[in-house]
C-alpha cells in the first residue's frame, strides 16, 4: 500500500468517526431543546438565588458543574447558610437523591457497552438525562453511546451556563418569566405519554401516579418522595408473579 492510499484510508477512518459523532449530536440536540428552556430558566433562577444569598458566581458555577442535580443545589444553599453539619448534609443528599437509585437500576443494560463514556453518563444522570436516554427512539444508524453522551453533555452545559450567567447577571434580569418552569412538568408529561404508548400493560404507570398522589396527600410536599418510592418498590415486587406470567401469555 502506498503512503498516499494509507493517508486517505486514515482520513476516511477519521472522517467516519467524526461523522458518527456529528450524527449522534444532530439526533440528540432536538431532544434537549425543552431542557435548554427549562434549565436556563431554573439555572438562572438558581444563580440569582445564590447571588441574592451573598455568594459570588463562582459558587453556582462550580456547584452546577460538580453536583449537577437541580433541587439538591437549591437545598445546598441552606446547608451553606446554616450551621456546619456535614453528616446532616450527607443524609439529606441521600434522601433527596434516592430516586437516582431507580434510574441506575433501569439503565444497567442501556449504559452497558458504551466504553469510557459510561462513567460520564452515570455522573450526569439527572432526571432529564435519564428520562430522555431511557425513552428516546434512537435511529438505527446513530451510535447509542454517543447519542446518550451528547444528551447528557448538552443538559449539563445548559445547567452550568444558566447557573453561571444567573450568578453573574442575576441582579439585572427583569422580564416576566412567570410560569416558564412549567416546561419541566410538560416534558415529564410527554415522556410519561411516550412510555404509556409503548407499554402493553399500564399497571406500573398507574401505580406511579396513584401511589405518588396518595403519599403527597398523606405526607405533604416536603416528605412524600421516600414513602412513595418505598411503596412503589413494594407494590412492584408484589406484582412480579402476575406481571411475568402475563408476559408469557403475550
Amino acid at each position: 500500500m502506498t503512503t498516499d492510499s494509507l493517508t486517505s484510508l486514515n482520513e476516511k477512518k477519521e472522517g467516519k468517526a467524526s461523522g458518527t459523532k456529528r450524527k449522534a449530536l444532530q439526533a440528540a440536540f432536538p431532544y434537549t431543546l425543552p431542557i435548554f428552556a427549562g434549565f436556563w430558566f431554573l439555572g438562572l433562577t438558581y444563580g440569582v438565588y445564590m447571588n441574592a444569598s451573598g455568594f459570588s458566581f463562582w459558587y453556582p458555577m462550580l456547584m452546577s458543574l460538580t453536583i449537577f442535580a437541580g433541587s439538591m443545589e437549591f437545598v445546598t444553599v441552606n446547608f451553606l447558610l446554616g450551621a456546619f453539619d456535614p453528616l446532616q448534609a450527607l443524609l439529606m443528599t441521600f434522601m433527596i437523591n434516592a430516586r437516582h437509585l431507580f434510574y441506575g437500576i433501569s439503565m444497567l443494560d442501556k449504559y452497558r457497552g458504551t466504553g469510557w463514556k459510561r462513567i460520564y453518563l452515570i455522573f450526569g444522570m439527572c432526571d432529564e438525562s435519564f428520562s430522555i436516554n431511557y425513552t428516546a427512539d434512537i435511529p438505527e444508524n446513530v451510535d447509542r453511546g454517543w447519542f446518550m453522551f451528547f444528551v447528557t453533555l448538552l443538559n449539563h452545559f445548559y445547567w452550568f451556563s444558566g447557573a453561571t450567567l444567573g450568578g453573574i447577571f442575576g441582579s439585572l434580569i427583569h422580564f416576566n418569566t412567570k410560569g416558564l418552569s412549567f416546561v419541566m412538568t410538560a416534558m415529564f408529561t410527554v415522556i410519561f405519554m411516550e412510555q404509556w404508548m409503548k407499554e402493553k400493560n399500564h399497571t406500573s404507570s398507574l401505580l406511579g401516579i396513584g401511589i405518588s398522589v396518595t403519599c403527597l396527600l398523606v405526607f405533604g410536599s416536603e416528605k412524600f418522595m421516600i414513602p412513595a418510592m418505598i411503596a412503589i418498590l413494594i407494590f412492584l415486587a408484589a406484582l412480579r408473579k402476575p406481571f411475568e406470567s402475563g408476559e408469557e401469555k403475550i
Binding site: S131, V190, I232
Partner: protein, 112 residues
C-alpha cells in the same frame, strides 16, 4: 456566623459525594460481568413507568388544589400537552404549546 471557605468546600464536597453515591451505586452493585439478580432485572424493566408518574407528581407537588387557583392552570395546561401530543406526537410542539398556555394563564388570566 458565615462558614469558613474550608467548611464550605467540605459541605459542597459532601453533597457531591452523596449525589455520586446515589448515581453510581446500582452500577457498582451489579457490574456487567455477573448475572444481575432476577428481581433487579424485573424492577429495571417496570420501574421507569412508575418513576415517570412520580416525576410528574413531584413537579406538581406545591400546587394547592384547595386554595388559590385550585390547580386549574396546571390541569388546563396538562390537558393541552396531552391533546397536542395525541394529535401530532411532536415532543417539542406539545411541550412548547403547554408551557405557553401555562404562562399565558398565570400571567393574564389567573392572577392571584
Amino acid at each position: 456566623m458565615r462558614m469558613s471557605l474550608l467548611q464550605q468546600i467540605i459541605i459542597i464536597g459532601t453533597v457531591v459525594l452523596g449525589t455520586m453515591i446515589t448515581r453510581f451505586l446500582p452500577f457498582l452493585l451489579f457490574p456487567g460481568g455477573k448475572e444481575t439478580p432476577a428481581l433487579v432485572q424485573y424492577l429495571g424493566k417496570y420501574l421507569p413507568a412508575a418513576v415517570f408518574g412520580l416525576l410528574i407528581v413531584y413537579c406538581l407537588k406545591d400546587v394547592s388544589v384547595f386554595s388559590g387557583n385550585h390547580g386549574l392552570p396546571e390541569v388546563i395546561s396538562i390537558a393541552v400537552v396531552v391533546l397536542l401530543h395525541r394529535w401530532k406526537r411532536q415532543m417539542l410542539l406539545s411541550i412548547a404549546g403547554g408551557t405557553m398556555c401555562y404562562m399565558l394563564l398565570v400571567q393574564m388570566v389567573f392572577r392571584v
